[in-house]
Symmetry: D2
Subunit: 351 residues, 4 copies
Amino acid sequence: MMNEKIKVAVLGATGSVGQKFVELLTDHPWFELHEVAASERSAGKLYKDATNWIMSSRLNENYANLTVKECKANLESKIVFSGMDASVAGEIETEFANAGYFVISNARNHRYDRDVPLLIPEVNYDHLKLVKTQPYKGGIVTNPNCSTIGLVLALKPLYDAFGIRDVNVVTLQAVSGGGYPGISSMDILDNAIPFIGGEEAKMEKEPLKILGELVENQIDEAEVKLSAQCNRIAVIDGHLECVQVNLKNKASIGEVKKAFGEFKSEPQRLGLPSAPVSPIVYFEEDKYPQPKIHRNEGNGMTVSVGRLREDVHFDYKFVVLSHNTVRGAAGGTILVAELMKAQGYFDEVLT
Amino acid sequence: MMNEKIKVAVLGATGSVGQKFVELLTDHPWFELHEVAASERSAGKLYKDATNWIMSSRLNENYANLTVKECKANLESKIVFSGMDASVAGEIETEFANAGYFVISNARNHRYDRDVPLLIPEVNYDHLKLVKTQPYKGGIVTNPNCSTIGLVLALKPLYDAFGIRDVNVVTLQAVSGGGYPGISSMDILDNAIPFIGGEEAKMEKEPLKILGELVENQIDEAEVKLSAQCNRIAVIDGHLECVQVNLKNKASIGEVKKAFGEFKSEPQRLGLPSAPVSPIVYFEEDKYPQPKIHRNEGNGMTVSVGRLREDVHFDYKFVVLSHNTVRGAAGGTILVAELMKAQGYFDEVLT
Amino acid sequence: MMNEKIKVAVLGATGSVGQKFVELLTDHPWFELHEVAASERSAGKLYKDATNWIMSSRLNENYANLTVKECKANLESKIVFSGMDASVAGEIETEFANAGYFVISNARNHRYDRDVPLLIPEVNYDHLKLVKTQPYKGGIVTNPNCSTIGLVLALKPLYDAFGIRDVNVVTLQAVSGGGYPGISSMDILDNAIPFIGGEEAKMEKEPLKILGELVENQIDEAEVKLSAQCNRIAVIDGHLECVQVNLKNKASIGEVKKAFGEFKSEPQRLGLPSAPVSPIVYFEEDKYPQPKIHRNEGNGMTVSVGRLREDVHFDYKFVVLSHNTVRGAAGGTILVAELMKAQGYFDEVLT
Amino acid sequence: MMNEKIKVAVLGATGSVGQKFVELLTDHPWFELHEVAASERSAGKLYKDATNWIMSSRLNENYANLTVKECKANLESKIVFSGMDASVAGEIETEFANAGYFVISNARNHRYDRDVPLLIPEVNYDHLKLVKTQPYKGGIVTNPNCSTIGLVLALKPLYDAFGIRDVNVVTLQAVSGGGYPGISSMDILDNAIPFIGGEEAKMEKEPLKILGELVENQIDEAEVKLSAQCNRIAVIDGHLECVQVNLKNKASIGEVKKAFGEFKSEPQRLGLPSAPVSPIVYFEEDKYPQPKIHRNEGNGMTVSVGRLREDVHFDYKFVVLSHNTVRGAAGGTILVAELMKAQGYFDEVLT
């Protein structure tokens, strides 16, 4: 019985993640983009004038003419998506939460706060309960790093079915993961860069919290040994990851493929608007998945997996692909908000 | 006392490896490109007319006007470089060797013949002796696969100093490794392909023979466990490899870097014309090595290494870059020929 | 009152244009892909096995399991789309037309037959009448070259409103225009090629027929002087064209922009399923249109125009962008078929 | 009798043009890089620490350890190359000239000063005399815009032999023309941009001064009508230009090719170190010139021309390629300095 859409705001709306929020919220069945906020420099301008729009679909006319507000806790929308830069996101998000807003953030600042969920709805939806232990009048929920999300989503069915002891991952990451303008064309045309600042540490740490267990309002981190090597390549969207795993319990190739293919979780059961029918799709063709061909599976929310084979150092190796700015950023964050809405987290604040 | 250059021929001269031979033999101090040979279809034409020249330096005028011969064992040059396609190379190379020619080949056909060296001059120069056990009037020596060469060259100083038990490698390979025309632009622009047919098997097998020990005219394969995952990316030249190793004996980071930096071998001692002063160069900058910036180190014959760090699954991880069509193909093959010349292998056939 | 969809076949279905037909016919409201045909080599196989599917959306399951037929005039579908190679298309298309089929072709063979329309539905829909003068039991209609279509669509409103005397065009064309595999990645990464075989001649000749007038069953060619220079660049889809024109009658910048913006034609009036609401969209931003951002305007059927400004040699210069494999090939051909259906051309053959 | 090299400094040494100066001055036979200067932020640091080195050859060890100075007119070197940003170059260059330095600048600020030569040594070497009319104790000479240089060099032999009335040019320009970091990878991968701010105006104006005649210490601008359309494409180095010209006097194709091929000028006669043997090379192959293959002709100082053919709107059309950061920037500027040295302009200041 949803008669009216829920008003939402985007903080950091002029940046690349902010723009993706704006694009994905267009025609959203539950949420209505009511306000856009950004730095002082942009505040007061029309959104279309303050923004160098780089999405490949056109900017919605109505949003184009919104006046950009400042990122201050006096917005009308009680649900705010944060695409702010990490240099400012931490304090502002706290300010909003204190003032009674629900902040769903793509910034890294609060990811390791003990009472803040680091959420992938299909993986650790139950961690949402942590929000109730927060000291804020509102609340803060965070989204993991883009390269972490694809990896952990692909690991989840194996973790549940067989247990995972070790993970080794080498990434080939798209340039859009570096924000805009990000990587210079002079650095990446006819080139690859075997280093992304801070990325390997995030990939080795975040999965432990995400796969952890919520026990008495605390997260017991998962006991998985992870090693990550991160590379930047000349692809626009879509992170490709070469993964090796040791399972706790033996599983045949057929059993592993079955676990990938049959995986469904809470967002699918709840029929959330942004939830893909299949969070994971497995491809039998040797040459798949590929960024250009598969990044848009499930409107960019499905993770593609392929090339499962036995390994000499680990039990198995396989390839994972996910859309880094949709599933890995704004799309994933919106799915978190949908989960919160469906579970009644917004009820109080919206009455 | 080299008064005259040694006449050499290139078999398969119109292909991409063949062209690289022609380019690199221009102004070679020891060898003179005397004949070019190719398929029946090209034979009889001028080289410039039979070839779609794709090298980035201009084709030498003299070579341009050579008449292409057939790949038959009636050439005047006794030293022949083979850049032929694997579909025909096997038999033709045998025919030449039987007829008294020395064939140094980039094709894969004879790589696993028990009496044929699979040679990287800095790594297993002593395997050359195998040639003397061959039944041929002449001889055959082979060059490993392009992605193997960079890897094994980087491993060699560690293998000698500390021993190696395990190797795990994920590659980001350039399109020129696929020959010409090879990968379609439609397949690789804004894309990456997590599969290269046959490549992983070669990378897991070839190093065992190369690092093996020559005992009584047989090669005892090295006991190293290898796992390879191979990806194609939108880079023209230069294979990047993310490597993890377990050493047999403990070594500090400083000791490993020292081993990389101080590595020299027979080609350097002999001062072979194509031998780089340093076969390996180590970069301290996090973001190095990169294909565009470092593939031409040592005229494309030096392997660049960087990002050495401790790992949680293996002792160390690091990044290797090598020029796949120079060190990894034609340049490496020419270095083999220089080694053979310096060690007197050609003496008999040249008198 | 369309109770049943019209059965159609695709000739040359395994090629890149053929695949685009298959992709675009998925869920078409009027046409149902009933048969796929290709060369003898593919005939008898399942379509999915005979085809190296390179589209970026997934192949429809039903089509995947169609058995490929030979390109012989014994198909059940009376409407056939031809994406065959020019080396075979000419004769086969004639054979089909003689046997009572309607062939709508993207091949160049019949484009200059005096009784064959070279059709862009928005531009010269009235040329369709030529079909009735054909000696065939069925008929043949052709689609122009991909770079011609975008140009002529953009010229049409100016031609109608002000007359056009001279056209000068320099193109920056996408690699998909060269078919698959087409341009090698080694030729186009970090490069541009100032030559496309035969393309300039087509661009200088085809517009004269398309813009010509149908007088007594013959086409009087338009009197326009054209010069074309064609370049290939590293873009996957979307041809960009820098155009200069001399008009017959004076027109202000405002009038020219108005002509672009208000242009509608027969397909819009008929509400054809593939007809974009606006065949042309004009962008005021200096940096627009761009291939990556605008090629999908109107589902790839809208031509984007921008940067209109006065010129010193010609009256005006401006930039045109169109999707070369949608509007410029398969999409344009399907629109032709829709026009024919709407005008009753298929009535006889479908009863 | 040059016993000692001339000490030179580079202003704006940390930027992309500045780095190219540093790279090209390595092992220069006449000049010795003695000082590097940059903004306050960099001053005081070692050059290697202040610079994000993006050249593809390694930074010379000696230069790496130079301490960066401020761009103030107290440097020891009397000859200074300016690669400063236009936002600061104007005043600083004036300050240096007033203080007795010779400034050879790649910045646009002084290009249209009536007494400042806009110099391409092969084209208008005689304009150098203007320096003697300057009010400075030292002097200022400027280099044209990168896209102008290739065009005007290619036009010069035609201008001398046949006269030129009209020029129409459409460019496909490399990303390095936009400085570093310049174009974002997200803007140019799988894309082209039909607009470069200010570029078309420069290309339409600068040639008039360069091709002008020096009469009584003033430059009479050439009377040529120019139209330019500028595009950015995904190429690292090398601007490709599609050119159309009307000549004043009739010339056959053979005569035009001869004029291109035989062109030599003052730098060749003087044997300047950076002067290419042939300033222009003409290619007969339809598909040439191409950026990747020909940008390094003559060490990047030769302009490549091809595809000369008759045109319907102009007398001829042809394609021009030049290396935008070598001939079109730092390399061209160094050639200016060599010309000045050879003609004695530095004599006074160096004693």
